[in-house]
Amino acid sequence: MDTRTRVIGPRLFSRLGFWLLVLAVLAVVSFPLVWMAASSLKPSEELFKTPPSVLPNAPTLTWYVEAFRDSAALRYSLNSLVIATATTLICVVLGTLGAYGLARFEYRGRKPIIVGVLLAYCIPPIMLMTPLYRLISGAGLNSTYVGVIVGHFTITFPFCLWLLISFFEKIPKEIEESASVDGASIFTIFFRIDLPLCMPGILSAGIMVFILSWNEYLLASVLVSSDTMKTLTVGLANYISSTEINWGVVMAIGTATTIPIIVLFTAVQKYFVEGLTAGSVKG
């Protein structure tokens, strides 16, 4: 018990104020998402009512049925799934190799490569858009999965490498050394020791790449001109740029696009937080 009882009053007040602040923050952060999800469940007469109610009085799935009965939205979802999955696999395989080679060994040329990865991480998609468009379209890969996958690989690979390097660095090198003394080759060490130890990190890096690719808009929009090859984000962006927006349908597709991403992220955020806070900026 605090002997200076006079501070209890202010402390209680500051606790209350603190939690009110937290509530306010939660409200602001959740508002866009809650509003989108709530709108997607409102029947037409509630959706276009002013002033609107926060939560739907008579929730309905009609917008979802309408959105995904139309084969275009399903096709976009499939395209996004294929592209994001392929990008993830390529990034994770090559990224794991690269990160291992950059994190675990000392040799000439290592530092310039790491600087190169850092620079690549800083190069934004808008700078790569024009040359990549010409190169990929010039190769006849416009409106193909391969074309978009190449584009997404370009912008996600440095991020993936960076995250993975931080995971590999966390494994104590003594483990490898004892294996090396026992005569194991670096391939054996990699596959038998580092890879299993890093699995959670590799998995979370993969999911982050999947999310980046799934959310990506700019490159996917310029690298695809045929409607059937559009990704979900590009298709949705087209819907909301038209003059007559079918609000219920776009809210339903938007919600369906976002929820899986939030679920995936929540599942791996622990490792992502560890990787990012250990690896990228330390000061």
Partner: protein, 319 residues
């Protein structure tokens, strides 16, 4: 930094009993392995980063169009055209406003929330942190469509609210007003980009020695004094790195503004990335678009070089 780096001593720790040829064979195999591990990354850097950037530089010196015709060298024509165009300075200014205000706000919000989730014995601390990170992964298109919906002049909750307060005309959308449009896209951008600074600041806060605060508290320093004399100085390096990184990413960020306003109304939210996009895919002047992106790049290169040097000085991966 956390673990000693013994790789330099690895060879020395090999048992001395092994004979020379065996050692040489092992070294050769190790080098071969290294090449296999690192080669894809090097190929990536050359083919997907270095080459496109050089190609872009070359395009900026040509009259390349989006389709057809082989590009011809035209020297600095595209650059001259850019510097003499009436819109460049205006869009550059929009870029500055968008970048400076967005970055300043996201850093302040990020730091504030980092302090919040860093409180000791915070109930639901991990859940709160996870929740606050969610905007980081929300697709920009979802955010754009909600923004357009709440700003809808007829039914949007924010637009009708502003109308009821008499700030804008009946049935008007704030997105149709130059004075509001930039403010709206900046606020929405702050919503989606505060988690990164928050996370990095949070990690930095955890690294500050708790004894410093105890000592300050013993000396009678309150929260503000501790914050001003201990926390802020300790976050200086983090802040510099974050600032550069966020400025580069924000100044080149295209998706959100494009999907919410398309650069309008009347060019009031057009920044250089949208200018590049319109030159490339609106008027099909690839060479001109390339020149704008080179200029944007040059403006930011100073920042990136600075960021890399800072990272090399403070990052454990490079020692």
């Amino acid at each position: 930094m956390r673990y000693p780096n013994p790789s330099a001593t690895t060879r020395a720790t090999l048992p001395a009993t092994r004979d020379e040829t065996d050692n040489r064979e092992r070294r050769r195999r190790r080098e071969l392995g290294l090449v296999l591990f690192v080669a894809p990354t090097v190929v990536f850097l050359v083919v997907f980063v270095l080459y496109p950037l050089l190609y872009n530089l070359w395009l900026s010196l040509t009259n390349a169009r989006l389709l057809g015709t082989t590009p011809e060298f035209v020297g600095l024509e595209n650059y001259l055209r850019l510097f003499t165009s009436s819109t460049f300075s205006r869009y550059l200014w929009n870029t500055v406003v968008w970048t400076v205000v967005s970055v300043a706000l996201q850093m302040v919000v990020g730091l504030g929330l980092a302090l919040l989730i860093n409180r000791k014995n915070l109930a639901f601390g991990t859940a709160l942190r996870t929740f606050l990170l969610i905007p980081y992964v929300v697709p920009a298109v979802a955010l754009a469509l909600v923004t357009k919906w709440v700003m809808n002049g007829d039914y949007g909750i924010v637009a009708t609210g502003l109308q009821a307060m008499g700030l804008i005309d009946h049935r008007q959308s704030p997105l149709a007003l130059p004075a509001y449009a930039m403010a709206v896209v900046i606020l929405v951008n702050v919503w989606r980009s505060y988690p990164f600074p928050m996370l990095i600041y949070w990690a930095a806060l955890k690294g500050i020695d708790a004894e410093l605060y105890e000592a300050a508290s013993v000396d009678g320093a309150g929260w503000w004094k501790s914050f001003w004399y201990i926390t802020l100085p300790a976050l200086k390096n983090t802040t510099i790195v974050l600032l550069v990184l966020r400025i580069v990413w924000t100044a080149t960020y295209f998706d959100l503004i494009w999907m919410i306003t398309g650069g309008g109304p009347a060019g009031s939210t057009t920044h250089l990335p949208i200018m590049i996009y319109q030159a490339s895919f609106g008027t099909f002047q690839t060479g001109y678009a390339a020149a704008i992106s080179v200029i944007l790049g040059l403006i930011l290169v100073a920042g990136v070089v600075f960021y890399v040097r800072q990272s090399l000085a403070t990052n454990n991966t490079t020692r």
